[in-house]
């Protein structure tokens, strides 16, 4: 670093490479190479054709992939519906309480992910107060359950990744020039069209980023499904984890991981193509 600060060092062609070397090497050795190893592991050995474990993965666990995608998508949509209005209030209506609200949004997430999910298990428990309340207002039948349902799993996913939706939306709303909003309110009537034509388009990059930050971890998550759901709600993450750590069918587990990764990368690229056509940066 001392060398880099020297006069004329900015032209030095070696300096940037020396600076990035340790971190980049680390990522190559412990991210790129493992990914290649995973690809190699997924290729079947022996007489079977190379795609054997992929065939198993897709025929045997297609349901899990589909279900994971559905749950992650549902959680992302719900997170937008919950997160956008809160981010809007924080950015435009909170005034001097802006930072307080921001702190409050982040605060719950300083407890461990697992402890939070356990807390939901307590809330949704068959003898818990949520069930009692819902039954007393007849929203839930006598034998009805909350735990081990799809609702619980999607709710848990939404909860755990909600801040990743709220914060980027908030950041993009907060960046909007207030004069622009004022001008829009003067020009458009009713005010809802000022929102539709000015605020919403300007905040879309935040929604875009938030959706990725919610969807990707939700798709690979298995803790919510395992703690809040039954085997009927199992997601692909559970299968991968089981195959790797318990069944130890490494080729199949690697193939499953790889398919998941390809699905996500493909989805992200497609999403970027469709929504990211304007300059978002």
């Amino acid at each position: 670093m001392a060398g880099a600060a020297q006069g004329g060092a900015r032209q030095s062609r070696l300096a940037p490479y020396l600076l990035v070397a340790p971190g980049v090497l680390w990522l190559i050795v412990f991210y790129v190479i493992p990914t290649l190893t995973l690809a190699k592991t997924s290729l079947a050995v022996g007489d079977a054709p190379w795609w054997e474990s992929y065939r198993q993965a897709l025929t045997g666990y297609g349901d899990h992939f589909l279900r994971s995608a559905e749950y992650a998508l549902a959680a992302t949509v719900i997170a937008v519906l919950l997160g956008y209005p809160l981010a809007y209030v924080m950015a435009f209506r909170a005034g001097k309480y802006k930072n307080l609200l921001l702190g409050l949004v982040i605060l719950p997430f300083f407890t461990t992910f697992l402890v939070r999910t356990f807390a939901w298990k307590t809330i949704l428990n068959d003898n818990g107060f949520a069930i009692n309340f819902l039954q007393s207002v007849h929203l839930l039948s006598e034998g009805g359950r909350l735990l081990n349902t799809t609702l619980a799993v999607v709710g848990g996913l939404t909860y755990n990744f909600l801040p990743f939706m709220i914060l980027p939306i908030y950041v993009s709303l907060e960046k909007i020039d207030p004069r622009l909003v004022e001008a829009a309110q003067d020009l458009y009537n009713p005010p809802s069209s000022a929102f539709r034509k000015v605020i919403l388009p300007l905040s879309l990059p935040g929604v875009f980023a938030g959706s990725l930050l919610t969807f990707i971890p939700a798709l690979g998550d298995f803790i919510n499904a395992e703690l809040l759901g039954s085997p009927n709600q199992q997601m692909i993450g559970t299968v991968i984890q089981n195959q790797f750590l318990d069944v130890r069918d490494y080729p199949l587990a690697a193939a499953l991981s790889f398919v998941l990764m390809v699905v996500i990368t493909g989805g992200v690229l497609l999403y970027a193509r469709v929504l990211g056509t304007e300059d978002l940066a």
Binding site: P16, F30, N99, T112, N127, G128, P168
Partner: protein, 305 residues
């Protein structure tokens, strides 16, 4: 957004805004519900194996929160891993960010891609691919594999957070210092470091919090070691522990203890950075990961902006 004084606000707009506020408050309540439950149930005296049903008020879990040795050990291990991986990842990540912001060089596109990829890879895949590497080279999983994994996923977060904070800094200040006769070491300690320190502090805080909380990647690479999240997870299966060692209220208490320092740390970082919102570590990282990340890494070098 408040209409200027004098403007007549029709009643339905006022009601609408009120409803919006109430909706936002309810979302906030949803965020806090489990936290209230954790605190409440840490005062519970559970009957039988599970701490799911409210029985009676009790201070048992709080009387000696670290009495239960395995929990204490797990916490110690987590703190050790977090401290070690944070120090390494912060240095690696900050150096990358510095290089990306100050130099235009061939390969910076590749580095941007390399930084974003681990963030778009699900944790299960990160964990399992690392495990398959360790299995292939015959390494035994344990303390060091946990640290390696944590450094790996932290480097990206640190580099992106620091880059977002120091982009657009006026580097001519360094030249000015040199013109005034400062030697290179002095330039670094008196100008460069103070300029980038808040960004680095925020990134370190974020990396520490991520490491402390990581479960999935650790599960794959921990071998027989038990970090705090792994302990909490295990407590679910071993909910049959004798009640005296019952883990749930204990974990609640530990959760409160654990979160306090990291919260104080990050709010201190916020206060230091003076600007609003964007600077808290999480918001910072999210803010830098967000707008157009994918586009940016696809077709543009970020270089010096």
């Amino acid at each position: 957004m408040t209409p200027r004084t004098g403007a007549v606000i029709p009643w339905y707009r006022r009601v609408g805004s009120r409803l919006l506020d109430i909706y936002a408050a309810m979302v906030l309540l949803y965020l806090f519900l489990p936290i209230f439950v954790i605190i409440l149930y840490s005062f519970n005296r559970p009957e039988g194996k599970f701490n799911f049903v409210w029985k009676a008020f009790s201070l048992d879990a709080w009387r000696d929160p670290f009495k239960y040795q395995p929990l204490f050990d797990a916490l110690k291990l987590s703190l050790k891993v977090a401290a070690l991986s944070t120090s390494v990842a912060t240095v690696f990540g900050a150096l990358i960010a510095l290089a990306l912001c100050r130099y235009t060089f061939r390969g910076s596109n590749f580095i941007n891609l390399l930084l974003v990829l681990p963030l778009t890879t699900p944790e299960v895949v990160l964990g399992s691919s690392l495990l398959s590497l360790f299995l292939n080279v015959g390494a035994r999983t344990g303390f060091w594999t946990i640290v390696i994994a944590h450094i790996m996923f932290s480097v990206s977060y640190v580099a992106l957070t620091v880059r977002a904070r120091i982009r657009g800094f006026d580097w001519t200040l360094e030249e000015a210092a040199m013109d005034l006769g400062a030697n290179p070491l002095r330039v670094v300690t008196k100008v460069t470091l103070p300029l980038i320190a808040p960004g680095i502090a925020a990134a370190a805080m974020l990396s520490f919090a991520l490491s402390l909380d990581d479960f999935i990647i650790t599960l794959f690479n921990a071998g027989s070691r038990v970090t705090y999240p792994l302990y909490v997870y295990g407590a679910r299966r071993a909910a049959f522990l004798p009640r005296s060692t019952c883990s749930r209220p204990q974990s609640s208490r530990a959760a409160c203890c654990c979160s306090a320092p990291s919260f104080c740390g990050s709010s201190a970082a916020c206060a230091r950075c003076r600007e609003t919102g964007r600077n808290s570590p999480i918001a910072g990282s999210v803010g830098c990961v967000c707008p157009g990340t994918v586009r940016r890494f696809l077709n543009r070098s970020s270089g010096r902006s």
